[in-house]
């Protein structure tokens, strides 16, 4: 890939960047633990405003800190593919939502970017995707941290070979989807009372009719829908990247270095020295 025609920035910003990543991850984890373990008061009295605020600020703030820490480490080749991932997420997710499907299909772009450009680019794409989608569909906004987690895990799965064989992709999708469902459920419950599409609410209604609490019912629905959704999304992305010409895949240092598509990734590049981010071009 072509190298920048300007001098590379120094390493003075390395420590604050790592600090942002650690703080963002810690904030998201603390928010999740608070919502699931400390907060769960009986929903019958109404969803407490503290839980809603913690959910909004914890997940959005954590996502913003992660993006702030990730953006400086991304190369231009990763940056130019992120808007396309965001646009794909929004365009396909909007169609799936309007059809009232039981799955969302709103992470195809995130997983695609994660597979080609790495976990860091995938996480930033997921978070920014929901932030931008929030301008057209405000219900997407609080799920930004969950989307970042999907991008991060998809990239890590790709790095460890989940996209080298087509039959490995749905297995990775199942695991990533289950984790994503667990994280998204408290947001859906404490922000919107678990309101979703007719398809997803029908699943929650089944669990509620069995006497489950709203958070438990939403978590079970999340585990079902998100796992199925990510299985489909991972398979679609695997089939798309297999159909890409090698020239298109080779422009991404991450895909080249870690041979994320096996023999389809092209020539092996030298191993990078550190980090989960996209290696320097």
């Amino acid at each position: 890939m072509s190298s920048p025609l300007t001098l590379a920035p120094g390493h003075s910003s390395e420590r604050p960047r790592r600090m942002l990543l650690v703080l963002g991850g810690a904030l998201i984890l603390a928010t999740y633990l608070f919502l699931v373990t400390v907060q769960p008061t009986e929903i019958a009295g109404g969803v407490g405003s503290t839980a809603s605020l913690v959910s909004l600020f914890g997940f959005l703030g954590g996502g913003a800190l992660l993006v702030g820490g990730i953006l400086p480490m991304l190369t231009t080749s990763s940056l130019v593919v992120m808007p396309l991932g965001i646009a794909l997420n929004i365009a396909i997710g909007q169609i799936a939502g309007s059809l009232g499907m039981q799955i969302y299909l709103d992470a195809i772009g995130t997983v695609l970017v994660a597979v080609l450009a790495g976990p860091a680019a995938g996480a930033a794409t997921g978070a920014l995707s929901n932030a931008i989608w929030g301008l057209f569909n405000p219900f997407a906004l609080p799920f930004a941290a969950g989307a970042a987690l999907i991008g991060l895990l998809a990239g890590l799965a790709a790095k460890h070979g989940a996209f080298r064989r087509v039959y490995l992709a749905p297995v990775a999708g199942l695991v990533v989807g289950a984790i994503g469902g667990l994280v998204a459920a408290p947001v859906a419950v404490f922000m919107f009372g678990a309101a979703g599409t007719f398809g997803t609410n029908a699943i929650i209604a089944v669990f509620r009719s069995m006497g489950d609490k709203l958070l438990v019912a939403a978590t079970k629905q999340g585990l079902l829908s998100d796992s199925l959704d990510k299985i489909v999304v991972f398979v679609i992305v695997a089939l798309i990247v297999y159909a890409l010409p090698q020239r298109a895949v080779r422009q991404f240092p991450f895909a080249r270095t870690y041979r994320v598509l096996g023999n389809r990734s092209g020539r092996r590049a030298p191993q990078p020295t550190s980090g989960i981010g996209t290696p320097a071009a």
Binding site: M1, S2, S3, P4, L5, L7, E42, I43, A44, G46, V47, T50, L53, V67, G68, L71, L74, T76, S77, L79, V80, V81, M82, P83, L84, I86, A87, L88, I92, G100, L112, A124, L128, S129, I132, G134, L135, F136, N137, P138, F139, L141, F192, G193, A194, A195, G196, T197, N201, I204, A205, R208, S209, D212, V232, I236, I240, A243, L244, P245
Partner: protein, 251 residues
């Protein structure tokens, strides 16, 4: 006719976000209803895009409100006062009340944010972010994603038509839909990646990765007064939230 812009997009976005925070802090249906009637409704009426915004709010919030009403109205095991009993499903007073509180909250959330978003001047917002020295990569991604969206939708429609001309028929079965989705997405993604590769070369050649401050060709519409107003609004809402929640915690 679009309304004449008075405030900077950043000021409008922050005001909308703070209003949502206030609704969450107060957490009473009366307050949500008042915001909906006294703030959202006039804002939509004065926006100059009444039809488009009303339609968008209806399309985004309508299905969610209806499905929420059905979910909590019929399946609310915590409910004690039963109004109607259908066996598995029971209409309870508590369920309807919960659905109403959540519905009003979602109504405010959608109304406020969609009204601001649909009257937002994106180039003005990006110019302000550049003038205020926001991260250049973030500004590029935001601007590029918003700009590429209609392009992606148009290209997807063109590819769908081309594939239909070659015999693509979308059936009702999931496999058929899955195959149709792949038939459209694969050429779409390949085309977009080729474009992205060209954009990469162009950006590299123009020193995108350098660290010097960027210049915006659009004038800065932000004023010191609005910057102070933004800080003041954030501090006021923060202080109110602390006091309100503190009062709620105290006996």
């Amino acid at each position: 006719m679009p309304r004449r812009r008075i405030y900077n997009p950043l000021t409008e976005l922050l005001a909308a976000a703070l209003l949502v925070v206030l609704v969450l802090v107060v957490n009473r249906w009366e307050f949500s209803f008042a915001v909906l009637v006294l703030v959202v409704l006039p804002a939509v009426l004065l926006s100059g895009r009444i039809r488009q915004i009303s339609l968008a709010i209806l399309l985004v919030a309508g299905p969610l409100l209806l499905s929420s009403l059905l979910l909590h109205g019929l399946f609310y095991p915590e409910g004690r006062v039963i109004l109607l009993d259908f066996g598995v499903a029971r209409v309870t007073q508590e369920g309807l009340s919960f659905a109403a509180v959540m519905g009003l909250r979602m109504g405010v959330f959608t109304g406020v944010l969609l009204t601001v978003a649909m009257t937002l001047d994106i180039p003005d917002l990006l110019a302000t972010m550049t003038h205020r020295r926001w991260n250049r990569k973030l500004v590029f991604i935001l601007g590029s994603a918003v700009g590429i969206l209609p392009h992606v939708a148009l290209r997807a429609r063109q590819i769908t038509r081309a594939q239909q001309a070659r015999g693509l028929v979308v059936g009702r079965e999931p496999i058929s839909r899955f195959r149709a989705l792949l038939t459209v997405t694969t050429p779409l993604v390949i085309g977009l990646l080729v474009d992205a590769s060209e954009r990469n070369h162009m950006l590299q050649a123009r020193g995108f990765s350098s660290s010097v401050p960027r210049t915006s060709y659009l004038p800065d519409t932000d004023t010191p007064r609005q910057r102070w107003a933004r800080r003041g609004m954030a501090v006021a809402v923060g202080a109110f939230s602390v006091l309100w929640l503190g009062a709620g915690v105290l006996p």
